[in-house]
């Protein structure tokens, strides 16, 4: 490499935009049960934000900012999804039976909590983990 290219604009914009994207993806994720969105697309969006960071900086930088092992994240996601399903067994219900109820939470007021969201978290983590594993792996290879 003769001369390091100057990526200042890209990097600055990325810093701002990637937060917006992540926020948007979290919105997509939580809104998924009522409006379009959900774990899958939310996970893809978060991964997209990370990819943008990856493009603006490099793999090493990203690893220092976000020191995740994405393969572990995939495993954790799968684990959460399976455990959510298996939890129903404790209450003498078939596998993957979901339950929901309304709770009065300290800050949010009356909110509906649904075990399907836990399942979706599993999906979300798996999708991020998978996408990042693939892209990192291919990017690092010679």
């Amino acid at each position: 490499m003769k001369k390091k290219p100057n990526d200042l604009i890209l990097q600055t914009v990325t810093t701002v935009i990637s937060f917006i994207i992540i926020l948007f993806s979290i919105h997509l994720f939580f809104a998924g049960h009522y409006t379009p969105g959900g774990g899958f697309i939310g996970g893809l969006m978060t991964a997209a934000a990370l990819v943008l960071l990856l493009l603006a900086y490099d793999i090493k930088t990203l690893n220092t900012i976000l020191p995740f092992d994405y393969r572990l994240m995939t495993a954790a996601g799968l684990m959460i999804a399976v455990l959510t399903g298996a939890g129903a067994l404790l209450f003498n219900q078939p596998f993957l039976t979901h339950a929901y109820d309304y709770f009065n939470l300290p800050l949010l007021g009356e909110t509906s909590l649904h075990t399907a969201v836990l399942f979706d978290i599993g999906v979300y983590l798996v999708v991020i983990g998978v996408t990042m594993t693939i892209i990192q792996t291919i990017g690092e290879s010679e």
Binding site: L28, A31, G32, H33, Y34, T35, P36, G37, G38, G39, F40, I41, L44, M45, A48, R71, T74, A75, G77, L78, A81, V82, G85, F95, L96, H98, Y100, S112, H114, A116, F119, D120, G122, V123, V126, V127, G129, V130, T131, T133, I134, T137, I138, E140, S141
Partner: protein, 801 residues
């Protein structure tokens, strides 16, 4: 499990201990221990003789798989007992003979006796089973143990060839027999032979009847070495001589005879049965005796002779079936045929067993079995000579031996076809006595040749590998016992009449005896001046003349080229079969993915289009269609244009971008058809995959990056167009044939009440059908790990390779 069952499986149990005895008692020949088994069984089975001769039967059931109707039913009647006594009796003699024949220092005796005992138990199981599946199981056991015994000297190439050949042929027949058994079960619902016999009239009317008969007969013919399946028997002569004496003269080859006799009550009323059994039998008789004359190996002669004698018994059993068409037994000539079959069965076991043992002795004491090298042994081996001459003369059918009696009865049976006006026997039936007579002449010639060439004539001891001398007494005991039986049955044939032959005949023809009639067996020497006596005289005269002029007409055997013999056909068939399947495999399995894809798609098109055509399943129903909107048309045109341009794109980069165009227009379609979740996902996924394609393109080797338009191949074009048409037609047809309401209304109604959600797609994904999603994320995880492994562990594999 009764004592009778234990008796049947005793050889199997004993076989387990043989290797221990062989290792533990090296100084004693293992055969002495083994000898106890058949002896004990023989004594045990003798006790059933009073039972069966008084017309009683014994039946013991041991439940094996009762839910399938498969039970180990041991059934002792006249026929079964006759065979059981043959198996155990000759088994004892053969074991005794093998003790002296096989040296304990040189041979793998533990193998030998394990196989032999396995075989003995299997044969007992075959003849004493009432259940057809159990019978089949033991039947295959005989095939396997016989295979092992033939290949006993497995370092010899010919042994392996013979073992393989007998295995292929007998297992082929065994499997056909299994087919026949299954058909019988389909017709009747039972595997029990006795119940089947009771239903024989009902079975006759069944359309599967002939098929079942053919398959069962195929099994019997292959096992009993009937034409054209006899080819395995001469090659099975590579086995040790005790094995040949036991399996290939007295027991296993008679399993087919047993099966025919056992199944007679079921099938025999059909004319097809009579023609097939008698016809194949008589031709086998002729063919075997004709070919025996040209053999130069002692055991070769005996093998063809066995083939021919088995044909004789088979033809008698076939003709005996005619007896069923007469109401009275008085003067029933066809009953004579069955009696003759049973009688000859016993006789053949005695004289053929002794002859094989004789051949083994000659081989053992001179080192060769080639009759061109033998001669003049009479003074050196007088006892062996006596055995040989008695055995051979009995085989040739000369008085005063037992072979004469059964030969006379055989001729009586064959002549009787003239008096039968059933199944067109009065036209082609003439062949039976004619072939029988010619075959008897040849039988006479080879029998004489067997003795004279071996024991008389010019001695040529210098050609022999060993200096000949008389065999040890232990080796002579068994053949001496057998030839004394030959003489005994010859002089006192009625010794066996009521105790053995009558009950056996009654089991072969139960419908006649059930009617209250009695089988009257009386075998006597002097018939008066009957036609068969003159036939016998003619046989002897012609035989002597032909033997004297053997050198002059022997040339006819060389007329048949090797290729056209049955053996040639078998060898060629095997070779062609192998090379043919190899070539077929080479032709189909090209190793190119594109060929396999063509097969897959061609079958796909052929099967689906023909189903559409045959079932008349194509329909167009336009009543249910939605209105077509303008932006759908535009988008469809873009999509189609993109897809088609890919085919004609010159560069790969263009193709990738066009693929992206197709993907994004699909996402737009999702938007138009109101699927926001799909549209979102499709957009992101399409972006990722295009990026990955670009990555692949970037890493292509220089040489393949050379821009080149896809070659046009007419076959590929046709297949792809056909696939397109097929899928389109099926799509239209299935859309027009919707028979049920969609279940989506349920989801719409319950998405909020049951799942507390508003996004139905997501609720279905995580709640209604969350199980699918669980495994889809598993798929993703596997894909990621797979890519990680492929990329990161690539180097490791390369280093190893």
């Amino acid at each position: 499990m009764s004592l009778l069952h234990l008796a049947i499986v005793l050889p199997f149990i004993a076989a387990v201990f043989v290797p221990f005895l062989f290792k533990g008692f090296r100084s004693v020949h293992t055969g002495w221990f083994v000898l106890l088994v058949p002896l004990a069984l023989f004594i045990y089975f003798i006790q059933y003789m009073p039972v069966t001769s008084s017309g009683q039967t014994v039946s013991q059931t041991f439940e094996w798989i009762p839910s399938l109707g498969i039970n180990f039913t041991a059934y002792v009647d006249g026929l079964g007992l006759l065979f059981a006594l043959l198996i155990t009796g000759i088994g004892s003699l053969v074991v005794l003979y093998s003790i002296y024949y096989l040296a304990k220092e040189k041979e793998a005796l533990h193998n030998f006796y394990v196989y032999l005992l396995m075989f003995m138990g299997a044969m007992l199981g075959v003849v004493l089973s009432d259940n057809l599946i159990v019978l089949y199981m033991f039947w295959e056991f005989t095939s396997i143990s016989s295979f092992l015994l033939i290949g006993y000297w497995y370092d010899k190439e010919r042994s392996r060839y013979g073992a393989q050949k007998s295995m292929l042929i007998t297992v082929f027949g065994g499997l056909s027999m299994l087919g026949g058994i299954v058909l019988l079960y389909l017709m009747s619902g039972t595997f029990s032979i006795r119940e089947l016999i009771g239903m024989s009239d009902q079975l006759m009317a069944d359309p599967l009847f002939i098929m079942a008969m053919l398959l069962v007969l195929l099994g019997a013919f292959t096992k009993s070495a009937q034409f054209p399946f006899h080819v395995w028997l001469p090659d099975a002569m590579e086995a040790p001589t005790p094995v040949s004496a036991y399996l290939h003269s007295a027991t296993m080859v008679k399993a087919g005879i047993y099966l025919v006799a056992r199944m007679s009550p079921i099938f025999a009323e059909s004319g097809v049965w009579l023609w097939l059994v008698a016809g194949f039998g008589i031709f086998t008789l002729f063919w075997g005796s004709f070919n025996a004359v040209k053999q130069t190996d002692l055991k070769g002669i005996l093998a063809y002779s066995t083939v021919s004698q088995l044909g004789l018994i088979m033809s008698l059993l076939g003709l005996g079936a005619a007896a069923l068409h007469f109401d009275t037994l008085d003067d029933n000539m066809y009953m004579t045929a069955t009696i003759a079959a049973v009688f000859h069965l016993i006789n053949h076991a005695t004289f053929k067993g002794s002859l094989f043992m004789m051949a083994g002795i000659v081989d053992h004491e001179t080192g060769t079995r080639d009759i061109r090298k033998l001669g003049g042994l009479v003074n050196l081996m007088p006892i062996t000579f006596t055995i040989a001459i008695i055995g051979s003369f009995s085989m040739a059918g000369l008085p005063p031996f037992n072979g004469f009696l059964s030969k006379e009865m055989f001729l009586t049976g064959m002549i009787s076809v003239f008096e039968l006006d059933l199944f067109n026997l009065n036209t082609w039936g003439i062949l039976f006595p004619v072939l029988a007579w010619i075959a008897s002449v040849f039988t006479f010639i080879y029998s004489i040749k067997l003795v004279f060439k071996t024991f008389l004539g010019k001695p040529q001891f210098d050609k022999l590998p060993k200096k000949p001398h008389e065999a040890p007494i232990g080796m002579l005991i068994s053949p001496l016992i057998l030839v004394s039986l030959v003489i005994l049955f010859g002089f006192f044939p009625n010794l066996l009449a009521n105790s053995m032959i009558k009950p056996a005949v009654e089991s072969i023809l139960p419908s006649l005896t059930d009617a209250g009639q009695e089988v009257y067996v009386n075998i006597y020497f002097w018939h008066g001046f009957t036609p068969e006596l003159f036939m016998t005289l003619g046989i002897i005269l012609t035989g002597i003349i032909m033997y004297a002029t053997l050198a002059k007409w022997q040339g006819i055997y060389n007329r048949i080229p090797e290729r056209f013999t049955i053996n040639g056909v078998y060898d060629n068939g095997l070779e062609k079969g192998e090379s043919g399947s190899f070539r077929l495999n080479e032709f189909i399995m090209t190793g190119y993915m594109r060929s396999y894809l063509i097969y897959i798609f061609a079958f796909f098109v052929a099967i689906l289009l023909s189903t559409l055509g045959v079932r008349d399943a194509f329909a167009i129903d336009t009543s249910n269609l939605a209105e077509i909107r303008i932006y759908e048309v535009v988008l469809a045109l873009v999509l189609v244009a993109g897809a088609i341009t890919i085919l004609f794109a010159k560069s790969r980069l263009t193709s990738i971008v066009l693929l992206g165009v197709v993907g994004y227009s699909v996402a737009l379609f999702f938007v138009f058809f109101r699927a926001p979740d799909l549209a979102l996902t499709q957009l992101v996924i399409e972006t990722v995959s295009v990026a990955l394609f670009l990555l692949c393109f970037y890493h292509l080797p220089e040489i393949s990056r050379k821009e080149e338009r896809m070659k046009f191949k007419i076959g590929n074009a046709v297949i792809s167009i056909l696939v397109g048409i097929t899928v389109t037609l099926i799509g239209i047809a299935s859309y027009s044939n919707q028979s049920f309401e969609s279940i989506s209304q349920y989801h719409i109604d319950n998405v909020y009440d049951l799942a507390a959600g508003g996004n139905m797609v997501n609720v279905i994904l995580v709640d209604f059908r969350g199980f699918d999603t669980l495994f889809e994320i598993c798929v993703l995880g596997i894909a990621a790990l797979g890519i990680y492994a492929m990329v990161n562990f690539r180097g490791v594999r390369r280093q190893k390779g």
